[in-house]
Symmetry: C2
Subunit: 417 residues, 2 copies
Amino acid sequence: MSNFACMKAEIITIGDEILIGQIVNTNAAWMGEKMNSIGVHVAQMTTISDTREDILNALKSATDRADIILITGGLGPTKDDITKESLAEFFNARMVFNKKAFEDIRKLFDSRGFKMNDLNKQQAEVPDNCTPLQNTAGTAPGMWFEENQCIYVSMPGVPYEMKPMITEQVIPMLRKKLGTDTIYQKTVLTQGMGESWIAEKISGWEDHLPSNVKLAYLPQPGIVRLRITATGNDKKQLEQQVEEEIIKLKKIIQDLIFGYDDDTLERIVGELLKEKNQSLSTAESCTGGYIAHLITSIAGSSDYYTGSVVSYANHIKERELGVNKEYLEKHGAVSETIVRQMAEGVKKKYKTDYAIATSGIAGPAGGTKEKPVGTVWIGIATPEKTLAQKFKFGNSRERNIRLTAVYALNMLRKEIK
Amino acid sequence: MSNFACMKAEIITIGDEILIGQIVNTNAAWMGEKMNSIGVHVAQMTTISDTREDILNALKSATDRADIILITGGLGPTKDDITKESLAEFFNARMVFNKKAFEDIRKLFDSRGFKMNDLNKQQAEVPDNCTPLQNTAGTAPGMWFEENQCIYVSMPGVPYEMKPMITEQVIPMLRKKLGTDTIYQKTVLTQGMGESWIAEKISGWEDHLPSNVKLAYLPQPGIVRLRITATGNDKKQLEQQVEEEIIKLKKIIQDLIFGYDDDTLERIVGELLKEKNQSLSTAESCTGGYIAHLITSIAGSSDYYTGSVVSYANHIKERELGVNKEYLEKHGAVSETIVRQMAEGVKKKYKTDYAIATSGIAGPAGGTKEKPVGTVWIGIATPEKTLAQKFKFGNSRERNIRLTAVYALNMLRKEIK
């Protein structure tokens, strides 16, 4: 196991709740990203039912395919959680009481001022061939196995228990065995045009990419991410190669690019405002607080964001944002006049340098012939001027809210000077 | 293939972007839920890379395991999309121009007023053994194959293209072949206590469940869902059996139960307000607009929701919500006094019957010894009174915001009379 960078990983998530679609498998995505970041190639993700037979079958096939097998789920204290027993059976191991695991659980309960019950005590029993991993946020210990020339790591399915286990224990343990990185990846983030349009525009550039450089299109609502992956031996050289390709790409679609890799519009806008020591407020109708939520999801946003008037009712637009009643009746709430007044109104009231305003018909009801569902006006007030733009999105309420937020944040970004 | 209800389905999602964790596999969850709702058992979900070899291997193993194989991804117009070619190779089929598929694509372009490019025209080429499925929201047709005593359905990976294809075409086509339903499922939604606590509390009830009835715990932040599944021959009888068990369960944990199945707190609160013809406003500090976003994600919420003051800055709390400056300095923004004033302030200002207010330290910074990260006050103003409660959540900003919203909505729900 000397060269981990060539190793294949498989992620097995156990749980009927995923198979029947009651929860989305965010764990697998998060683990995929973490493995990718240390140069481990995730070749497959598998989700199975929490039954003994399915767990044993999945472990067997993954052992044939992969070198590192990450397993989540089925470790809770309740009766439908059987991963631990199935792992013991797979490795032909005995279940034993583990003192370290017990102490870890006791510490957790002490820190929370709770008393352990019998179910919790049972959680300190683990297969005798494993190294237990501490769970700093819950009662089920993780387990690290080295068998069949593979590494198996079993972790709880609860995300805030699994995540610190990966970052604080699993990744350092894997890094110890890891060879040189042989992958360099950078993702160019674009906003404003669809995948086909971009593909046609940059097809000449794509055709001339070196053979060790691969491009992938990753579309999201309102955003297309272009992921460039270079593989080889020398990380420094790969990085240079990718950067050179990005310089060429910029010459073609400069105006669409807003950031790289894990950047988000809300983070970029926040950083720009912080840098310039300027402030922002929002007045949201059709987005109903979603833009405020995105902005405040960034830690430290209180440095530049004062708040929002979510003006869902028209009388709030009038009273709180100083929108003109006559205009409101004449043009309707979804209009250039009103969205400009909303942006200027909140900027003045909340005493900020910039403001975003949104007004639209998110749907599914409320559309008319002149203003069908998906019609949205976005207004941006800056220290110098106010601008407004009309958009025609689609029929999905969720998507219309999301698209409005993405376009609004990018319009603002371009105005921050 | 006479009895589809006993059939196993497998969902294959193709895409490096999932394996490296750049996107979360929401498609698989959505399809799992749809299959479950028509009584088809999803036994496995598999995510693989968009390479010819991995696609062929996954198709082969799924054919051994499953009867219905749903495939998404890799159908876009760009060069990294190779699912269609791999399917043709797997079935040993020829690629042919399909007139119906072409007409479907042309109609889509006409309706949007766009011109087709060469890449789009190529998308009308499909393997000669498939029935093309219309894509009403995009250019890549779906494909339905019946081979090897299996049904294979290949669909685009873009969710708003895949979803109507499933509901309008795939499900009706599957239903035609579907036998009697033999599953009845109901999920009881609880809020306020953890999984272990509930498990201990209801363990007697769980032990006495009939052998054909299965219980699963599905925890989410602040919420534990209890999914009860009965299997048998007579759907009516299964339904009765589950309802009887729920009546027994209610006697034990009545006060924790807020709804069933796909209910959400924001939807239930909305329905209660609508029913009573009452209105709501919110004043959000630590949740930063997230509660407003949840409420307005419900279509028709403008009937009862007037809006929110997202008062991120203290001067907004004073000026817009009438919070007392002296108290603010004495008690701090995260205090019972202030959260009560915020709730009463927005209720009065926005002229509503009810109001929610939140103030807390979401983290990761801003904690003190007296008020560590995760300290949150929630205030609820009703037509009769104002109440406030203190919570101590954890260290994750995202989770603290989510938990505050869940607890606040449930506190409000209990007060709506």
